[in-house]
């Protein structure tokens, strides 16, 4: 009897993965971030129209540790990071697993510009030679990386303008099919300044209230991370949660209880920025893997 070949042949990448995770952990520890673990099973998640949670005995598996991380910020922990599993129902594709590894970090007194700089430093720590070969392309990682606003990306790459796409309800489709494949091909790209209505937990831009201080990081067309300058206004946050929850229920999704402890404690949260990075996708990039299947031992289909 031979062992399972699909598992055996992933060994070189799983060894690389273990080293990458070690480097990431050391990077944050050395920069005075406290590593924390928050519960995977929660009464509800932050309501978001297009993210579905897996149910668990009347509660839910978390789709991100975001709310617990922010409650810790509000309780006075200034710099936090977490590496954990997250679950999102029915997400399975070449770049998606319904159970995946997330790296989140939060820093008080920072905004999303400082997080962009920190992403540049993290990738430099992981790839000291400053160049990455991925799917036949060489990506130059030397900072500073391109900052491209969502409006500019629509002007440069899309068949519709941002205003037209929003009016037609085709924003996501244009981003996924026309814009994403063009981002981060020579060097990484930060796609910045999302329309406020598409950033439920992000702070409005101080001078342009129609956009929020949200960015997504793309490398070689792969969406790697999502970040905000965090919204700290509990009244505004409650208003946005109510709108997202209404959209969820209108689409027939199970109701979430309102996250009252989070909303209550948000008033005590300092100005802060936070980011969620798909760790499996980071490993894909750093090991040249075409699919997410190659960087985890077990996919759901193998169980």
């Amino acid at each position: 009897m031979e062992g399972n070949w699909t598992l055996a042949r992933k060994r070189p990448r799983l060894e690389q993965r273990a080293r990458i995770v070690q480097t990431v952990r050391s990077f944050f520890v050395e920069r005075d971030y406290l590593e924390v673990e928050t519960p995977h099973r929660v009464p509800g998640n932050a309501p978001e129209a297009h993210i579905d949670a897996v149910t668990s005995d009347g509660w839910f598996l978390h789709t991100s540790p975001e709310l617990c991380m922010k409650r810790l910020l509000a309780a006075g922990y200034p710099r936090l990071f977490q590496i954990c599993r997250c679950w999102r129902a029915d997400e399975r594709g070449a770049r998606h697993l319904p159970e995946f590894a997330m790296l989140e970090w939060y820093a008080a007194g920072c905004d999303y510009h400082q997080l962009m700089a920190e992403c540049e430093t993290l990738l430099t720590a992981l790839v000291p030679e400053g160049r990455l070969d991925y799917q036949g392309r060489t990506i130059d990682l030397s900072p500073p990386w391109e900052r491209l606003t969502v409006a500019e990306a629509f002007e440069g790459y899309a068949s519709l303008s941002l205003t037209e796409a929003l009016a037609a309800g085709r924003f996501d489709e244009i981003i996924a099919l026309e814009i994403e494949p063009r981002l981060g091909l020579q060097g990484p790209t930060f796609l910045i300044e999302y329309p406020t209505e598409l950033a439920a937990l992000a702070r409005r831009h101080p001078h342009r209230p129609q956009v929020a201080e949200r960015f997504e990081l793309y490398i070689a067309g792969l969406e790697l991370a999502n970040a905000f300058s965090e919204l700290t206004d509990p009244v505004e946050q409650r208003r946005r949660f109510t709108a997202e929850e209404a959209a969820r229920q209108a689409a027939g999704k199970p109701p979430y209880p309102s996250p009252e402890p989070f909303l209550r404690e948000l008033a005590a949260m300092p100005e802060a920025a936070g980011i969620a990075l798909g760790l499996d996708r980071l490993v894909m990039l750093l090991t040249g893997a075409d699919t997410i299947d190659e960087v985890v031992a077990f996919t759901p289909e193998l169980l």
């Binding site: 070949w5 060994r11 070189p12 990448r13 997400e91 594709g93 998606h96 489709e173």
Partner: protein
């Protein structure tokens, strides 16, 4: 009825009254946005290929096609010939309808042929097939970059990745659903 989250590579749907099979499938979702289902579809009657992207919320009619137990006989200039095990009726499938499945057919193999009226339009193979390796270079010890695998070609001309210990002449089992190596076969 199928919803978007039921779609897979190999799903069969009715579009404009004709059966179609999804030959390539990918789920994609821009950060925090709506899910998109990118499909390459083949019309199972005409063989024509096209791309289509569906959004969550759309529904599909399943193509209810009759499957018949048949045996693979031989290949001729028109395609691959199968015989119904009960009626002895013969059905020919063109090469385009088979794709990579043509590499996993061995003489007298029992298969399911998918019928649209009296026309054969697709095939379900046994999950595993045994094929002999006809060509594979010895593994270079210390080649850790490629891990412990190397390419091999089997008797039907199909090339796949196998473990380092598989040699030319070894009989191996291949998973016909994924096209991947499963195990060596004891002889």
């Amino acid at each position: 009825m199928l919803s978007c989250s039921d779609l897979r590579k190999g799903s069969k749907l009715i579009i404009d009254g004709e059966p179609h099979v999804i030959v390539q499938f990918d789920f994609t979702k821009p950060g925090k946005g709506q899910a998109l289902y990118k499909c390459k579809l083949r019309n199972m009657i005409t063989g024509s290929l096209f791309d289509r992207t569906y959004r969550s919320g759309e529904t599909f009619e399943t193509a209810a096609l009759e499957e018949r137990d048949m045996q693979y006989l031989y290949r001729d200039e028109t395609g691959y010939v199968f015989m119904d095990q009960k009626s002895y009726e013969q059905v020919t499938l063109p090469e385009e309808a088979l794709g990579d499945q043509k590499f996993f057919l061995v003489d007298n193999m029992k298969v399911n042929v998918l019928m649209f009226g009296d026309r054969g339009i697709g095939l379900t193979l046994p999950n595993f097939v045994n094929l002999r390796v006809t060509q594979s270079d010895p593994w270079v010890k210390g080649d850790t970059a490629s891990g412990n695998n190397k390419p091999a070609t089997v008797e039907t001309g199909y090339t796949l990745q196998v473990p380092a210990f598989v040699e030319q002449g070894t009989l191996i089992q291949i998973d016909t659903r994924t096209g991947e190596y499963a195990t060596r076969v004891k002889e």
